[in-house]
Subunit: 359 residues, 2 copies
């Protein structure tokens, strides 16, 4: 009944499902709550035994909770590097969690909408994720999981401060709300900087595909709140749903419409060259693949590209990333080998997936 990691790898998971509200611009939305057990020290000071005890306790409680019954528990100590990277590429765990040490893991629901990290920076990080703009639904889901768990374990909590966390920026609600946006038109028209400034003025962080410290790749921008103290969860979510995200979506769609009207040849050239390169390359990096898939994603949403659809694009997007590529290919490869294998994979998939020419 429980899925395995290999089962997951065969699908594109939730974050690349390509559906949900505003999904022509919003790839996915996510909420995570940082929690720690009252009975154990924070991980920075915990002994190996205490750390193991946190892991044991939390995995037991999650597994016996209704939401955890079907979940896949991944014990990082038993998981090789490629599989850990697969989880990062699927946005189920952080880079830090993959690279970490000691007793730690993640509990993943079969649809990949829930991923509970144990012993990352905090004892527990409840993460819920959905494709498209679904923060209200996510908050309900995260809240439910949080409530159920809080009936089983005592959280580190302070009446004045709220939830206590390893890093001071998470103290309070312990919530991080983030939305992954695809903004190719704002990038092309160079309006992206104005949008990023507006977000920063609202004390929101603008980051790349894999969160903190990563570059934007493929015109994907992750917008998230920076502080969790002094506002309620609902207020924080309201910042996203009430104004900033719908506004950015509106700007992006306006920029796309303007490009289509004023620079349609340039726009189509961008889209179709990317397709031409992906169809014929003999060696390509993961980053360049994502950059080339970006205008095609926009092209599909704008009805200007029809050789394949969003589900196939998302599959290409995920399966060409280093760990997925190696997982599919069945063995570990160095960067040069991956470049050649990635190109071979793309050519094969695009030749198979092509609809009749409409050029």
């Amino acid at each position: 009944m429980t899925v395995t990691l290999d089962d997951l790898t065969r699908t594109t998971g939730e974050w690349l499902r390509g559906e949900g509200p505003m999904s022509d611009v919003v790839l996915s939305s996510r909420i995570r709550l940082a929690r720690n057990l009252a009975e154990q020290p924070f991980l920075s000071t915990a002994s190996s035994t205490e750390r193991t005890e946190v892991f044991r306790r939390l995995t037991e409680e999650i597994a016996s909770s209704p939401f955890g019954a079907d979940a896949l528990l991944v014990d990082m100590a038993d998981t090789d590097e490629i599989d850990r990277e697969v989880l990062v590429e699927r946005h189920l765990i952080s880079r830090q969690h993959a690279a970490g040490e000691g007793s730690r893991g993640v509990s993943i629901s079969p649809t990949e909408t829930q991923a509970l990290m144990i012993n990352e920076e905090d004892h527990l990080r409840i993460q819920v994720l959905r494709s498209g703009m679904q923060l209200d639904e996510l908050w309900e889901e995260a809240n439910r999981i949080d409530d159920l768990l809080s009936q089983r374990v005592a959280y580190a909590f302070d009446r004045q401060l709220g939830y206590l966390t390893a890093c001071p920026t998470n103290v309070g609600t312990g919530i991080r709300v983030s939305v992954m946006l695809h903004l190719p038109a704002l990038k092309l028209t160079k309006e992206i900087e104005r949008v990023a400034r507006a977000a920063r003025d609202l004390r929101l962080a603008v980051r790349g595909l894999y969160g903190e410290g990563t570059d934007t790749v493929g015109d994907l921008y992750q917008i998230s709140n920076q502080t969790t103290l002094g506002k309620s969860e609902e207020e924080i979510i309201q910042t996203f749903t009430g104004s900033i995200i719908p506004k950015i979506v509106e700007y992006e769609l306006a920029a796309r419409a303007s490009l289509a009207k004023r620079r349609s040849d340039y726009l189509d050239d961008k889209i179709w060259r990317a397709y031409g390169i992906l169809c014929h390359t003999r060696s390509i990096s993961s980053g360049e693949t994502q950059s080339l898939l970006s205008p095609i994603r926009m092209g599909i949403h704008m009805g200007r590209f029809d050789r394949f659809d969003i589900p196939m694009l998302n599959e290409l997007f995920l399966h060409t990333q280093p760990a997925h590529l190696q997982k599919i290919h069945g063995r570990s490869m160095d960067e040069d080998e991956r470049g050649v294998e990635r190109a071979r994979y793309l050519r094969k998939r695009l030749a198979a997936g092509s609809k009749p020419s409409s050029a």
Copy 2:
């Protein structure tokens, strides 16, 4: 019997015939002789009437010579800008001749191996041109034309100096020998600068596709002698045939072999990406088209690309240049329109010309 300019436009002409010795590296070779009539002043000081008289006299003598019987005489005064540019793109006249003023023209043999410019910088420029490395044959041909004409007109000639010409650098033999080389591998391996230095040490000029003052485009390099005084024609030609050109060809082929052996993925990627872009672009410049055709040309010669052959490549090379494109399209277009039309032309030709996939 005589061909028209429109007839010519339908073929790729001699310089892109793609045959002849060393044609995997040497696109074409050319010899031109600068001559002036003794009876008339040089063009820099000639009156309009004198200039017209030179034109009348030379066209008459050429037309009644055996080599000129089938030739197409183009009177520049009657020729519109696109047709003049067509002649430049076919390497039958210089840019200066196309842009010039006053009574002037060119006599072109049906196979385009002979192009005699009248009233360019000198009264007469006898040009002979062949695909591949054929300087000895060309010298014989140029010499024959020169002899036949010298029986009909008196050339400006000085016992000490030799042939007198408008520009001092042409005084003496009045010969310019030039060879058009395709050197993509030397460019990729960055050895091209060493080759250019070696050529310059031999007092040879290294130039781009359209001669003097033009940039190299599509890895095409034109090597020609700089001075014509103090050496016989045969000695000048010997510099090319005896050492420098066979040596450069050898270097280029060695660089290609080395790339194939050590960096085959990189090489194939270069070739096939270029093809992918050409197949799918929606707007492309003439310069970029030539740059992309370059690795494909190399790929065909190396047996690494098989979607089309050299004759088709040369047709694409010529027909995507601005004047040919407009001629084929049947009307004058601005740069933006040309970019879109060029992309359309390429997509149509490549879709039609594609052989079954071997990817």
